[in-house]
């Protein structure tokens, strides 16, 4: 019960902190002071208080987009086991619901973008759905490998106590799956090298260009939803990377928080050391991620289990 409460609070409160950590890391690498860690919170609160300007072209879909997306990623967050604890909601096949809730969010974000009738936002929407087609199999190959290793059918089993023994049994597969899922994390959250969240060149962006016309509370919801998505996927990757079983209930949550923040720092490092890929090369990297997780799964087929 307490664990559920902690998870819900973390899910609601912690996501923007990850954005703060990423920007702080980038600033530190670049030798700048950078914005305060809590700046994303201030941004979102400020946006929620602002007035709105809506395009004449838009319909109800325009506001439904951010709302449905945010609802979907929050719900997905309840399916994810955090800190090695079983998730508040878990059942056989919840991984499918998890992936499809993210897809529901994508569907509504992209139709809200198309609602404006702007060609820039159309470009962003087209890129988002196209790249997702390549990211999705990478994610599912990774989950398939975990299904084989942990003999479970839910995220709570995949990312539960079985992860540590999976590293012992099949370290090569786990390395491949971790690498593949990290690339999926970057792609799904439109981070460098897929997309640059800081750029303001409309022609090259993916996520930011889709929400060009959203302002005020709608933009605040979009930013918050995107942060939640980053947090949710990061907590999965963090669990794979740090499968620590402390045995101490009190230590569990601090370890989890530290490992998620570590993922944020790694994202910051990636963003500081890499440039954004040319759009034409993005599919190659995603196919690469598919191959990584795919081979991670194939390696497991030989071993008798």
């Amino acid at each position: 019960m307490i664990d559920t409460a902690v998870q819900v609070v973390l899910l609601l409160v912690m996501p923007p902190l990850l954005l703060g950590v990423i920007t702080k890391t980038k600033a530190a690498i670049a030798g700048r002071v950078g914005a305060p860690l809590l700046q994303p919170y201030h941004d979102i609160i400020k946006l929620l208080r602002k007035g709105s300007v809506l395009s004449r072209t838009t319909t109800w879909v325009f506001l439904a987009g951010p709302a449905v997306t945010c609802a979907a990623v929050l719900l997905a967050g309840l399916l994810v086991p955090m800190g090695g604890q079983p998730a508040p909601i878990r059942f056989a096949g919840d991984l499918i619901l998890f992936a499809y809730l993210l897809a529901l969010g994508r569907f509504f974000t992209t139709i809200a973008a198309l609602d404006t009738g702007s060609s820039f936002e159309g470009m962003g929407a087209a890129r988002e759905v196209t790249f997702a087609c390549l990211a999705e199999p990478a994610l599912f190959f990774g989950l398939l490998a975990l299904a084989r290793l942990t003999e479970g059918l839910s995220l709570s089993a995949f990312f539960g106590p079985g992860v540590a023994s999976a590293w012992v049994d099949a370290a090569p597969s786990m390395v491949l799956v971790l690498a593949g899922l990290f690339i999926v994390l970057l792609a799904e959250n439109s981070r460098i090298p897929f997309d640059d969240p800081n750029t303001h060149l409309e022609l090259t962006m993916i996520h930011e260009v889709m929400v060009l016309d959203h302002g005020g509370p709608a933009l605040g919801t979009v930013l918050y939803g995107a942060a939640v998505k980053l947090f949710v996927l990061s907590s999965l990757v963090a669990r794979l990377a740090v499968p620590m079983e402390t045995g101490q209930p009190l230590l569990r949550w601090p370890v989890f928080i530290a490992s998620v923040l570590m993922v944020a720092v790694v994202i910051g490092l990636v963003e500081s050391t890499m440039a954004r890929l040319r759009l034409l090369h993005v599919p190659n990297l995603l196919v690469g991620a598919c191959l990584l997780t795919g081979f991670g799964f194939i390696l497991l087929l030989g071993s008798p289990r």
Binding site: T57, A99, L104, S118, T130, G294
Partner: protein, 684 residues
């Protein structure tokens, strides 16, 4: 059959009601023939009769689920071969539900879509064949004799041909109808072979499980492959789909809804019934079905992404969904071969629930597309736009169908895909040492299919309903009339209902799985034990609740109420025009480019050489690669070779009668034991 009289009454109802329903539906178009061409009462009577007949058939399906075992009925039959044997078991009942419901809703939709006033020449003809088509569908599911099945099959195939070519002054309709006619009869030919093989193996034309001794592996494989061709052609499994996109695009929209939503499912029913007749399949049958399912799914949705004709696009999505259903069926077959009851239950349950779901959301989409086409008079997606403002209800209904077909929660498509996913995930985990991890490669394939479907329907919904209109029409399109909206509302409600309470469909799915697994090594487990359907309900509810609450909250926050309305910001560009919007083709361009090796897109690029160039035009098109690059050249070669046989075609009827006489003599001689006769002559 239970001994108590009440029980047997219910089981008698279960087999009589569909027959009565089929008779009423089949006759629904006839009263209109005696009324004036433009008279509305003819149309109304047809719709009312159709609804009545469908209700009777549905009543039969419901009655069969509550009884234990199925009643078989043998009616007098005037032909020397076959029999009029009908029976409604769980498998038939599960298919009967969508097969009865969707055409009935379509007949209501057709009242305005193809009204006697607007189409005085063809509306009576359409109603007659529509009724025959729907009645054949009902008869097909209950027929338990091969000859009766073939009669119903031909009734369906021919009436569908007349419906596809209803607008026979249209070139496109005639050529699509022709391709359909040839394809369906190639399938019928395969079914003739299949029935002959079944009769020689089992001794009768009955569609009952054959004992292993009657159908050893060789004969069984021949039967299975013939069935795969015959039924696969009807279902539109790649690469046997060539007739499908054209025929579904040119037919009137409610007919497309029936063709795409339910007629294809008859092919799936045939495959399910056939695999039920051969209880112990080798592993490669299931593997073949699974592979064909993956190919149909991925390639079908890829072609859909590349289309710019709204109804053609929806037709390609049918191929994709048939692929998903075939994957489920293949998984169930693997379960049969390996004796894994969980794969059987999840595979077959998922396949049948997807048959339902696809019937509902696809006909919803075709009807919504029809409502749009009815108003804007074009099927070209790139000439539409902004229709969500002028047709808000149609737009919302189309969105509902789009979310459902992408398999997204909280709608029905998600539930059936979840069942198939669960079954496929279980193939990597051995129980008693039995696993088939190769089948698990279908999991990422299903994921790609889902993601591509999202891409495709974002494109369609965006290009048709969002943004601003790309062309100016004489009058602003107005919302579709009530009699067209009502059937769509019913379908949308079913989509939402199955998504929220999938457990309601459980009795049908379990009965179907029980009927299907008769004679297998393991009986299918109850689906309720394997699939977390109540969790699905809870989370579907939570998704609706969260989304609505957040949307309402966001609406309140948007200040000032109603907010300032300006033009789209568009990065500050001051004079955007509707023609600058991203079109459906531009939306799909990256994907089409990525998969150009499969799609073979054809482009006409303008060359812009000089300064101040004049107007140029650009066009791109993706044709059906299998039809244009495989089938048409092959048929051309065949036609050239066959031309040599023309010598025997002299044009004199006397000559033809001579041929008949010669063949009869040859047949009679073949009955005489000539060799024995010769031998006896020699020995004497």
């Amino acid at each position: 059959m239970g001994g108590d009289p009440e029980h047997s009454l219910v089981s008698l109802l279960a087999v009589w009601l569909p027959l009565v329903g089929a008779a009423i539906v089949g006759a629904s178009g006839l009263p209109g023939l005696f009324l004036a061409r433009r008279s509305a009462p003819g149309a109304w009577t047809a719709a009312v009769l159709h609804l009545l007949g469908a209700a009777a058939a549905l009543g039969g399906a419901a009655a069969s689920v509550v009884t234990v075992g199925a009643t078989s009925l043998d009616l007098p039959w005037g032909l020397p071969f076959g029999s009029f044997r009908v029976e409604l078991d769980g498998l038939s009942a599960a298919f009967l539900v969508p097969l009865a419901l969707v055409p009935a809703l379509g007949s209501v939709y057709g009242l305005r879509y193809w009204s006697p006033r607007a189409h005085p020449d063809t509306s009576r003809k359409l109603r007659v064949f529509y009724g025959i088509l729907a009645a054949s569908l009902i008869l097909l599911t209950v027929a338990r004799d091969g000859v009766l099945f073939l009669f119903a099959w031909e009734g369906m195939a021919l009436s569908a041909f007349f419906l596809v070519t209803i607008d026979d002054r249209d070139d496109q309709a005639r050529s699509a109808g022709w391709v359909y006619f040839v394809a369906t009869h190639v399938g019928t030919l395969a079914l003739f072979g299949l029935l002959a093989a079944v009769a020689s193996a089992g001794g009768s034309f009955g569609l009952d499980p054959l004992p292993d001794t009657a159908a050893p592996l060789g004969v069984g494989t021949v039967i299975f492959l013939l069935g795969l061709i015959g039924f696969g052609l009807k279902a539109g499994i790649m690469p046997l789909h060539v007739w499908l996109p054209g025929a579904h695009a040119v037919a009137p929209s409610h007919v497309s809804a029936v063709l795409s939503g339910v007629v294809l499912k008859v092919g799936i029913y045939g495959l399910a019934r056939l695999t039920c007749m051969l209880p112990h399949p080798p592993v490669f049958w299931g593997g073949l079905l699974l592979t064909l399912g993956v190919v149909s799914g991925i390639v079908g949705v890829l072609f859909a992404v590349a289309q710019h004709d709204l109804k053609r696009l929806l037709a390609y999505h049918s191929i994709e969904n048939i692929g998903i259903i075939t994957m489920g069926l293949g998984l169930a077959m693997l379960g049969r071969s390996y004796g894994r009851a969980d794969w059987m239950a999840l595979g077959l349950g998922g396949a049948i629930l997807h048959v339902w779901n696809h019937a509902f959301f696809k006909s919803l989409l075709f009807m919504a597309a029809g409502a749009v086409i009815h108003r804007v008079h074009t099927r070209e997606i790139d000439r539409m736009g902004g229709l969500a403002r002028s047709m808000p209800i149609t737009g919302a209904l189309f969105l509902c169908g789009a979310v459902a077909i992408c398999g997204l929660p909280p709608l029905n498509g998600f539930v059936s895909e979840l069942l198939i996913y669960l079954g496929l995930l279980r193939t990597v985990q051995p129980i008693d040492g039995v696993a088939a991890a190769g089948a698990a490669f279908a999991v990422p394939a299903l994921a790609i299919i889902g993601a591509l479907a999202v891409a495709c329907f974002v494109k369609v919904f965006g290009a048709v309903f969002l943004g601003s209109p790309r062309e100016h029409h004489d009058a602003t399109p107005s919302e579709a009339p009530g009699s067209m909206l009502a059937p769509m509302l019913v379908l949308a409600a079913v989509c939402v209902g199955i998504g929220a309470l999938p457990a309601l469909a459980l009795p049908f799915l379990d009965a179907a799985a029980r009927a299907w697994s008769v004679g297998a090594h393991a009986e299918a487990l109850p689906l309720g034990l394997l699939a977390p359907l109540w969790w699905v309900s809870a989370l579907a509810g939570a998704t609706w609740l969260f989304a609505i609450l957040l949307a309402l909250g966001l609406r309140r926050l948007v200040r000032p109420p109603g907010a300032a309305r300006v033009g789209t910001w568009d990065c500050g560009y001051a004079a955007p025009s509707a023609r600058m919007q991203y079109t459906a083709s531009s939306f799909a361009q990256i994907l089409v480019g990525l998969f150009a090796s499969v799609l073979h897109p054809r482009e006409r690029r303008p060359r812009v050489g000089r300064l101040f160039p004049r107007g140029r035009s650009y066009s791109s098109h993706v044709h059906d690669v299998v039809l244009a690059e495989w089938v048409v050249p092959a048929v051309a070669v065949l036609a050239r070779q066959a031309a040599r046989l023309r010598i025997i075609q002299a044009g004199h009827i006397q000559l033809y009668i001579l041929y008949v006489l010669l063949i009869v003599i040859a047949l009679v001689l073949s009955a005489v034991p000539l060799l024995d006769l010769l031998r006896s002559l020699v020995t004497r």
